[in-house]
């Protein structure tokens, strides 16, 4: 939103300037709607930043991450409803549960390549959705969803408006942690391993880099953060239901990553901001919204196939790192 054009003048410090700007927002405005929108932006940003590691860095074309996000929310809602465990305590366990789920999904899926991974993970998404939606025992709430499973107690501590601000800062902190982890993964031996695999799979394999093992690590790690994001989001809404698995939202998140720039550091967040702002513009014309967003995504992909982060970097004359191309990384041909 406010960060990209600053990239030239303020060099590499603009992420921290953006953070400071976001820290200041609740002091400047008391517009509840705006704050709620920014909270949503933080949550989606956290998800797409982590998902981007899977897609862009590890080169796994996985669609199951959105189901993992929902599972995080469901974990918190289910233990809150049936075991009376408050969401503040189940936040991290929700992430761990999702990491375990990610590991279990990754074990078979990551043995496959390219399009098979996409289809199998999409199938997994649908199975999770159908199993939750079709449940009539009341365990998952089925089509009605679960609500009233508790919250973090922000209302008692900070009052009605302070509650929103507290959620705002919590989301911001989660997003910052998520971004730092993402940057760490990109710079760590993990990131180097993926770069090696991308540049020459044969040589990388010859010096003992196992694609399967590294992909599994990233898959599990990102599942943890996506699960935490889901748990937070479910608690913030106070309601978890099966409409969360909406295919349109899944594609919207994926489009954020791709439009922003898959495999780039800040691209997914830029894409998230862009598509959310666009979606807000269309708020008064709900029947045209999906068409406008779908059309915009197509136009952006036609104009800037590497994403807007890459296009901006070129515009401002900064040297661009070659983004991870899933096509090359997967070697589907």
């Amino acid at each position: 939103m406010n960060s990209a054009p600053m990239a030239t003048g303020l060099g590499r410090h603009w992420p921290w300037i953006a953070v400071l700007a976001f820290v200041a927002v609740p002091w400047i405005t008391d517009d509840r709607y705006l704050l709620a929108m920014i909270i949503l932006f933080f949550v989606w940003s956290l998800v797409v930043v982590q998902w981007n590691l899977v897609l862009g860095q590890a080169g796994i074309f996985s669609l199951v991450q959105f189901a993992i996000f929902n599972l995080g929310a469901y974990f918190t809602a289910i233990v809150g409803t049936h075991l009376q465990i408050p969401p503040a305590i189940s936040l991290v366990p929700a992430g761990l549960f999702c990491a375990l789920f990610g590991l279990l999904v990754g074990l078979p899926c990551l043995r496959l390549r390219g399009p098979y991974v996409a289809l199998l993970t999409l199938a997994t998404h649908s199975v999770v959705y159908l199993m939750i939606f079709a449940d009539t025992s009341g365990f998952t709430g089925g089509g009605y969803g679960l609500y009233g499973f508790g919250d973090y107690g922000f209302r008692d501590m900070f009052g009605s408006f302070g509650q929103l601000v507290a959620y705002y800062y919590m989301a911001l902190v989660l997003l910052i942690i998520g971004c730092l982890v993402a940057i760490w993964v990109m710079r760590s031996p993990l990131g180097l391993a993926f770069r090696a695999l991308r540049d020459s799979e044969g040589y990388a394999g010859a010096i003992g880099i196992s694609r399967y093992r590294y992909q599994l690590i990233v898959f599990t790690l990102t599942s943890f953060f996506i699960g935490v994001a889901g748990s937070f989001y479910g608690t913030y809404l106070g309601l978890v239901d099966a409409t969360g698995f909406d295919f349109g939202t899944l594609m919207l998140l994926l489009a954020m990553i791709v439009v922003g720039g898959m495999g780039t550091r800040w691209g997914p967040i830029l894409g998230c901001a862009l598509l959310m702002v666009l979606s807000e513009f269309m708020r008064d014309y709900p029947q045209w919204r999906t068409m406008a967003v779908g059309g915009t995504v197509i136009v952006f992909l036609l104009l800037w196939p590497r994403g807007i982060a890459d296009a901006l970097a070129r515009l401002f004359g900064r040297s661009t790192k070659k983004p991870a191309s899933s096509a090359e990384a997967n070697g589907t041909g």
């Binding site: 649908s126 079709a134 594609m251 059309g295 197509i298 196939p305 899933s326």
Partner: protein, 292 residues
């Protein structure tokens, strides 16, 4: 026993429709290496076109099928020219076409919702009535479905094996570079494949809606099933896809009978996960040789 035969029979009918859908998907993947997520939306459009020819234009209902086939074929050409063609070969094109076609699908679905409303419509391309045979109730419409599917698939087979264009498609699917060196224009092949595949989607949309109903989002779950069938048969493998369509159709009918309809999709997905663990390129897929 009669219930079992009835179930297998309805599985065969479903399998015939799935075969039409899945062959279209696998054709695109085989030649272009593109996963077309708009296939379900094209199916839905095809069903509406058939509905429009009968209800709005007032032509006889049986014309719905050919009109829908031709219209959707033209739509397929347009999709290739405007959407997929310009992306092929560009950076990230495999991901970008996936996102772009799903964006198109969402746009088409909300367009249909806007124009036709959320109400379910009945497909006019349908014949009422049925007869009993060996204790199995067979409706005329199911016979029509099987006949249309069989004719379409046989024509498709003839087209792919006996005509120059069909051979060009298969050559491109096998070795794109070599095919191009032999003077096959890749652009024309891709255009043709998109048209054919969209036409097949339209046929399956009309047939499927004739036993269920037409609604703006009714193509999504059948498309998921078609993807499962394509994986099962090996992506790009047409013969394998045909077998898989009938296996999945009958499995779905059996699961619906013995476990309940809501378990049909989960069981299928579970099945495919197991298949892929042991045969990573599908039941009939050939092992891809990975070159370093």
């Amino acid at each position: 026993m009669a219930a079992l035969i009835q179930t297998i029979y309805s599985g065969l009918v479903l399998g015939a429709i799935y075969a039409l859908m899945a062959v279209g998907l696998t054709l695109i993947f085989g030649a272009l290496r593109v996963l077309n997520l708009a296939h379900g939306a094209l199916m839905m459009m095809g069903a509406y076109v058939s509905w429009l020819t009968a209800e709005w234009i007032g032509l006889p209902a049986f014309l719905g099928l050919p009109v829908s086939f031709i219209t959707m074929m033209l739509v397929g050409f347009a999709i290739y020219k405007l959407l997929i063609g310009p992306m092929i070969g560009k950076p990230n094109w495999e991901t970008n076409t996936f996102i772009a076609t799903s964006g198109l699908a969402l746009a088409l679905e909300s367009f249909a919702l806007l124009v036709f409303g959320p109400r379910n419509q009945a497909q006019p391309f349908a014949i009422a009535g049925n007869f009993q045979f060996l204790g199995v109730t067979i409706s005329y419409q199911n016979l029509v479905i099987m006949a249309v599917a069989a004719v379409a698939l046989i024509l498709m087979e003839r087209f792919l094996t006996q005509t120059r264009s069909g051979l060009a498609i298969r050559a491109t699917a096998q070795l794109p570079d070599a095919a191009q060196l032999m003077g096959i224009r890749q652009d024309h092949v891709f255009l043709l494949v998109l048209g054919l595949s969209s036409g097949l989607a339209a046929l399956s949309g009309v047939l499927l809606s004739s036993i269920f109903f037409i609604a703006p989002t009714f193509g999504f779950h059948p498309m998921l099933k078609s993807f499962i069938i394509c994986i099962f048969g090996g992506l790009g493998n047409i013969r394998g896809t045909l077998y898989a369509a009938f296996i999945i159709g009958i499995t779905e009918a059996l699961v619906s009978l013995y476990l309940g309809v809501r378990f049909a999709l989960p069981v299928m997905f579970g099945l495919i996960i197991v298949v892929l663990i042991f045969r990573p390129t599908g039941l009939f897929g050939q092992r891809e040789v990975v070159r370093l």
